[in-house]
């Protein structure tokens, strides 16, 4: 069966300045050749730190950006040469909270988008009502978006993204900046879309637990390259050997960590609670590592064995922690 999304050796460089004719400009490589396929009905995650190239990938797939090389197809249509065909059949929740019109009401926003997505009028009325009820904003439909909370805005952005009943949905950091309750709503909503409505979803996140819980498969992306791609379970097998530890220390300069042990990474820095180190070590190494830390001048506050997560996979693969 044809994959719903097919990305092959995709590359993207951004010019550092406006590329005027007859002007030489330098380019920044944001994607250095990534490839992956997403099947119909799959919930696929792109996980990576800031600047990894997640948004760039989404923008290319949603026809907002032109790739510098390689190819990308969505539902069999090329995202460059058949952009219009792609646009009709997909939708996205973009990064940030200003993707809707704040000076229009929730209802007016959805009607506007239903029009520019060419949804037939009687169909649109019905769908807007359904969607607003689904995201719990029907009662607030006539209020301006301006007065909405961040969570409400995001729920409306999701309703907007479903206005053309898309086959494929792209979500760029859909829970970023949301309170716990709103984030939970978004996750469960997306999960249901895939399970009950058989939508194909590609989402980006740098929230490990989210990726792990939601996604059928995850591509870990770093510096414009996919460094691992598998199901969450299989990815975690990479760190199933040995033991994963969290060591909380004080008075340790971050650059010293690697000198003590290359497998450790700084996963959290907190001025009051100290620095949290994390790593996947061999069982017999632990005493030596702790000793090393003390010798490096650190005050070790606690050592704890923890269940490995995707964060440990990322640390193992890159030597760095993927911080929230």
């Amino acid at each position: 069966m044809m994959p719903t999304i097919k990305v092959k050796d995709l590359r993207k460089s951004y010019p550092k300045r406006i590329p005027l004719p007859f002007r030489r400009v330098e380019w920044v490589e944001a994607l250095k050749g990534i490839s992956f396929k997403v099947r119909k009905g799959e919930l696929f995650g792109l996980l990576g730190p800031n600047g990894a190239g997640k948004t760039t990938t989404i923008k290319i797939l949603t026809t907002l950006l032109e790739p510098s090389g390689g190819s990308a197809k969505v539902l069999g249509y090329d995202v460059v040469s058949q952009a219009r065909e792609v646009r009709r059949r997909i939708n996205l929740v973009a990064e940030g909270e200003r993707t809707l019109y704040w000076r229009l009401s929730a209802y007016e926003n959805l009607r506007y988008f239903s029009n520019i997505y060419y949804v037939p009028k009687d169909e649109a009325e019905k769908r807007i009502r359904e969607l607003l009820q689904l995201v719990g904003l029907w009662e607030r439909r006539n209020d301006l978006v301006m007065g909405f909370s961040r969570g409400m805005k995001q729920r409306l952005a999701i309703a907007k993204a479903l206005i053309n009943d898309p086959e494929v949905l792209f979500l760029d950091e859909p829970t970023l900046g949301l309170d716990v309750q709103s984030a939970l709503f978004v996750r469960e909503f997306v999960e249901r879309l895939v399970k009950e409505k058989r939508k194909t979803v590609l989402l980006t996140t740098h929230h490990m637990a989210e990726a792990e819980r939601l996604c059928d498969r995850i591509a870990i992306i770093d510096h414009g390259r996919i460094i691992a791609l598998n199901t969450p379970e299989n990815l975690k097998r990479l760190v199933s050997e040995g033991e994963t530890v969290e060591i909380r220390v004080r008075n340790l300069r971050p650059e010293k960590v690697k000198e003590v042990d290359g497998r450790l990474a700084v996963s959290e820095e907190d001025p009051t609670r100290g620095t949290l180190l994390r790593g996947n070590l061999d069982e017999e190494d632990l005493p030596r590592v702790v000793e090393g830390l003390i010798r490096a001048g650190a005050k070790v506050l606690s050592v704890e064995r923890v269940e490995p997560t995707l964060e440990d996979v990322f640390i193992k693969l890159t030597g760095r922690a993927l911080r929230d």
């Binding site: 907002l64 950006l65 032109e66 646009r87 060419y118």
Partner: protein, 267 residues
């Protein structure tokens, strides 16, 4: 239709705030009143034989009112680009539009047309207020007769103003530059004083501005001249309109391609 959707959205966002509408009308009026009184003070009265001889319209308030109202509408597509499109670029709503099957070109043209129509509503109020305040003799028949020329002028304004749509997508903060341009147009297109008072090279330059010809033609028709008296102006408009549309389109296509390489945000 997507065009109607864009228009409805723009109208809603503008007319939702009555205070803003009223203040637009007031700004329009204050500006106009200043110029009319200043002009009359210089001329030493409302009638000028020089004006009559060089433009066919001797009554200064009539002369200034028509030019002014058309000027305001003529710079409207430019304002739509440098403020309206720019605002959507900054906020990310532009990308929400680009990602839709509507296409950016349709959205940009619709937006500019919407702003021009909104400004027309405001200028209709200013015009009628001006007619009453300055005792301009108004013939509904002459006004009706001028409508086809106004329509043609709108097409020309849209074409020339959309040049800024392409520019704003790439150079972003060009509002202040556009403002200078607006006032330049105001002064060299003969809105408040006849072109014959300006140096010859400015007069030649003014021929490239659609407002010059539209204001001239509408004034003549307004005071009762026949269509045959405005063939020169109409010819100029028919020549300039496709040229400006072509230039705008080429620039827009380049900007769109460049934006798809650089990203629409790019701040």
């Amino acid at each position: 239709m997507a065009f109607l959707a864009v228009m409805e959205k723009e109208f809603r966002m503008f007319f939702r705030y009555p205070l803003r509408v009223v203040s637009s009308v007031l700004v329009g009026l204050v500006f106009l009143v200043q110029f009319v009184y200043f002009g009359q003070a210089v001329l030493g009265g409302r009638y000028s034989s020089i004006l009559q001889a060089s433009t066919g319209v001797g009554d200064y308030p009539t002369y200034a009112l028509i030019g002014y109202v058309l000027w305001w509408v003529s710079v409207s597509p430019m304002e739509a680009s440098v403020w309206g499109i720019r605002r959507e670029l900054q906020r990310g709503t532009l990308e929400s539009n680009v990602a839709s099957p509507m296409g950016l070109l349709e959205m940009v043209v619709s937006l500019a047309l919407s702003w021009m129509l909104m400004d027309s509503v405001i200028m209709a109020v200013v015009f009628l207020t001006g007619v009453i305040a300055f005792g301009v003799s108004l013939s509904w028949f002459a006004l009706l007769k001028a409508l086809p020329i106004v329509g043609l002028a709108f097409l020309a304004f849209l074409g020339s103003g959309l040049i800024f749509a392409g520019l704003v997508m790439i150079f972003k903060n060009i509002g202040p530059f556009a403002q200078i341009f607006e006032f330049l147009v105001l002064f060299i297109s003969g809105v408040f004083f006849p072109l014959s008072t300006l140096p010859a090279w400015v007069v030649s330059l003014s021929k490239l501005i659609p407002l010059t010809h539209s204001a001239n033609a509408v004034r003549k028709l307004f005071v009762g001249f026949p269509y045959s008296s405005v063939t020169g102006e109409v010819a100029w408009l028919l020549l300039l309109t496709p040229l400006y549309w072509l230039a705008s389109y080429a620039l827009f296509k380049w900007a769109e391609r460049t934006a798809r390489v650089m990203g629409y945000g790019g701040y």
